[in-house]
Amino acid sequence: MAFSLSPERERQVDEILTHYPERRAALLPVLWLCQRQNGWISPEVVNYVAERLGLSTAIIKGVVTFYTMFFDEPVGENVVWVCRTLSCDLRGGKAIQDHLEKRLGCTAGRTSSDGKFTLLKAECLAACGQAPMVQINDYYYENLDLELLDRIIDAHADKGGEAAAAELSTFARFGTPRRNDRLAQASAPPPPTEEAVRVASQPPPAAEASNAGGDES
């Protein structure tokens, strides 16, 4: 079946085209709009974009396959990217991945059998100071431990639970991405107390938003 964008998104394409002197430059933004609507870049999407921008399908496939975030096959309802680059791995990135694999019942690179989650390994997501972290769909979840991670997965597993999950994302509590009260005390890893876990996963007050400025020195 032929693919087409919703009227609202079509209007967005028209607007995007005014940003550039060349139509081709709209390719990435238009692919994004299509993927948001369709979930992945299907062959029908490629045909649609080719027609809309006046490009050959070969050019579009070349671009789609170059970029990690364009999916050329269907993915689950939620896409979980677990960061495994050095800064995250130094703070337990592998433990996060192991837990997700167990919890979702699939290895990285695959989709859970209920189709709800695709688990993917990511390279550095620019959240190194708040490691370990995962990205789920548009949201970053940082300073994770397994308890917090489970709550996030629970929320995303519910249909329409994205809003609840977003409350746990860094952006709902951004600027205070620290949990160091607990980490600071950790020498040879002591078992964290109930209290410490509770404090860690609560959004810290916004007034402490800046950890920049060297004010803690």
């Binding site: 940003h19 550039y20 060349e22 081709r24 430059a25 709209a26 390719l27 990435l28 933004p29 994004w32 921008l53 490009l55 671009v63 970029y67 990690t68 364009f70 680059t85 050095l86 800064s87 791995d89 130094l90 703070r91 337990g92 592998k94 433990a95 837990h99 390279e123 550095c124 620019a126 190194c128 100071g129 490691a131 370990p132 990205q135 548009d138 994770l144 431990d145 397994l146 308890e147 489970d150 952006f171 600027g175 620290r178 160091n180 607990r182 600071a184 950790a186 890893p189 078992p191 860690a200 402490e208 938003a209 800046s210 950890n211 920049a212 400025g213 060297g214 004010d215 803690e216 020195s217």
Partner: protein, 460 residues
């Protein structure tokens, strides 16, 4: 102990809902842009940026004022400003904080910069993963346009050209942080770097003269113009490398995060004074100073600069981590300042394993255009896999060096150098560990996340 400074770049991070125009404006946003556009000439502004000695904050450390000076548009050519927000260098997470917590500073910097270099359009290329930052920026731009700070007559002034800012989303590719790959991506192509020359200032996006600057560089422009280039430059502790910057620390410290400080603090200050010291007070083993492409520092090593005219003579005999962090000092030290975001590793880390982690990153991210890089990155990972899994030979350690040497300088862009340099630094400074791995492999007990794994897992 370093003295805390009055924050400039991060001064609005703590403002409630700082990303909204009204809040940012009551905390000072756009006053400098208004003043610059209404009372000053573009040439004066360019001069201030030159005097500020601001070294590009994206990693290469090229003086931004000099870069602006390369523009020499021919008749009929339009100048573009492109802001590189493709922050992807492992260990680096500073630009995102500007976009999320003070997007209006970036917009204001872009307005002043567009006026100074004569660019009617600025594109902010944001990495695709940062969907949230993208939305924040789009909202900020919409608000600024609504307020009349963008468009045909910014601040009501007829500049002879409009100023428009557009956000462009990438889609997941580290290489798009390389400026010419970024330009290709912006044009709707695969993000493969271009052969240089021509440099972007001559032939950039859409074949037009283009200035590509990092987010933090552009976000510094309002302060530079407000204070004056000379005064801003003097905030630094080093000559020829001006101002303040955002330092990041990740890894095994008590207090990882972002800290604004003058250029020229030492790595020891950054770790001990700003980042709260080592996690669990374990010994510092190694630190990657400014993103994964910068060769590692080893605190055991002493600066060797007995000659009096050596740029590091002042620090002769001191530890590598006691040298002030500047573009030139770090180059003299045999590493790079890069993005100024450090990855700190304690003595629990096995360097072969840490190295394998980073080389896997480069293998994944090589764009594949040039053979030495495409094949070399994969080969390095293969050799490191053999070492870690106990299948290695002692000759493999020299093979790592050999492969790296054959990658350096043999490719279109700096990616291969950015892979080979840290690889060589690792082998040079921690050779005994690589030799040990060649004989015994890396036993599970020293895998690099062990020191914190218990903390992450303990909570479940």
């Amino acid at each position: 102990m370093s003295e805390p400074i009055k924050p400039l770049l991060t001064s609005r991070y703590g403002v409630k809902e700082s990303w909204k125009l009204a809040n940012a404006e009551s905390a000072g946003a756009y006053a400098t842009a208004r003043q610059a556009l209404t009372t000053r000439k573009p040439e004066e502004l360019k001069e201030e940026v030159k005097k500020a000695n601001i070294r590009g904050r994206g990693g290469a450390g090229f003086p931004a004022g000099v870069k602006w000076g390369f523009l020499n548009p021919q008749a009929g050519e339009q100048i573009y400003l492109v802001i590189n927000a493709d922050e992807s260098e492992p260990g680096t997470f500073k630009d995102r904080s500007i976009m999320d917590l003070d997007p209006h500073r970036l917009v204001e910097g872009a307005i002043i910069s567009c006026y100074a270099i004569g660019a009617p359009v600025a594109y902010i290329y944001v990495r695709g993963e940062l969907a949230f930052s993208l939305k924040r920026l789009e909202q900020a731009i919409a608000e600024a346009r609504q307020a009349g700070y963008l468009g045909e007559r910014p601040f009501g002034v007829d500049l002879g050209h409009p100023i428009e800012i557009y956000v462009h989303s990438g889609a997941g590719a580290y290489i798009c942080g390389e400026e010419t790959a970024l330009l290709n991506s912006l044009e709707g192509r695969r993000g493969e770097p271009r052969l240089k020359p021509p440099f972007p200032a001559v032939k950039g996006v859409f074949g037009m003269p283009t200035i590509v600057n990092n987010v933090e560089t552009i976000a510094s422009v309002p302060d530079i113009i407000e204070m004056g280039g000379d005064a801003w430059s003097l905030l630094s502790r080093l000559p020829g490398d001006g101002g303040v910057r955002i330092y990041g620390v990740s890894g095994h410290v008590k207090n990882p995060g972002l800290f604004e400080a003058p250029v020229g603090i030492t790595m020891r200050e950054l770790i001990d004074d700003y980042a709260g010291g080592m996690l669990g007070d374990r010994p510092l083993k190694a630190v990657i100073p400014g993103g994964s492409s910068t060769p590692v520092l080893d605190p055991r090593r002493k600066v060797h600069a007995p000659a009096e005219d050596h740029p590091l003579h002042k620090w002769h005999g001191m530890s590598e981590i006691d040298v002030p962090m500047g573009v030139d000092t770090y180059r003299a030290l045999g590493t790079m300042l890069g993005t100024c975001c450090a990855i700190v590793m304690d003595d629990s880390v096995n360097m072969v394993e840490a190295c394998r982690n980073l080389m896997r990153f480069y293998k994944h991210e090589s764009c594949g255009q040039c053979t030495p890089c495409r094949e070399g990155t994969g080969w390095l990972v293969d050799v490191l896999n053999n070492l870690v899994h106990g299948r290695g030979k002692t000759e493999d350690v020299d093979l790592l060096v050999n492969i790296s040497n054959n990658m350096m300088g043999n490719t279109i862009c700096a990616f291969a150098d950015g892979t080979a340099m840290p690889m060589l630094g690792m082998v040079q400074k921690f050779r005994e560990e690589f030799m040990e791995a060649a004989v015994n492999g890396v036993p599970d007990g020293v895998r690099h996340d062990d020191s914190v794994r218990g903390m992450v897992e303990g909570a479940a």
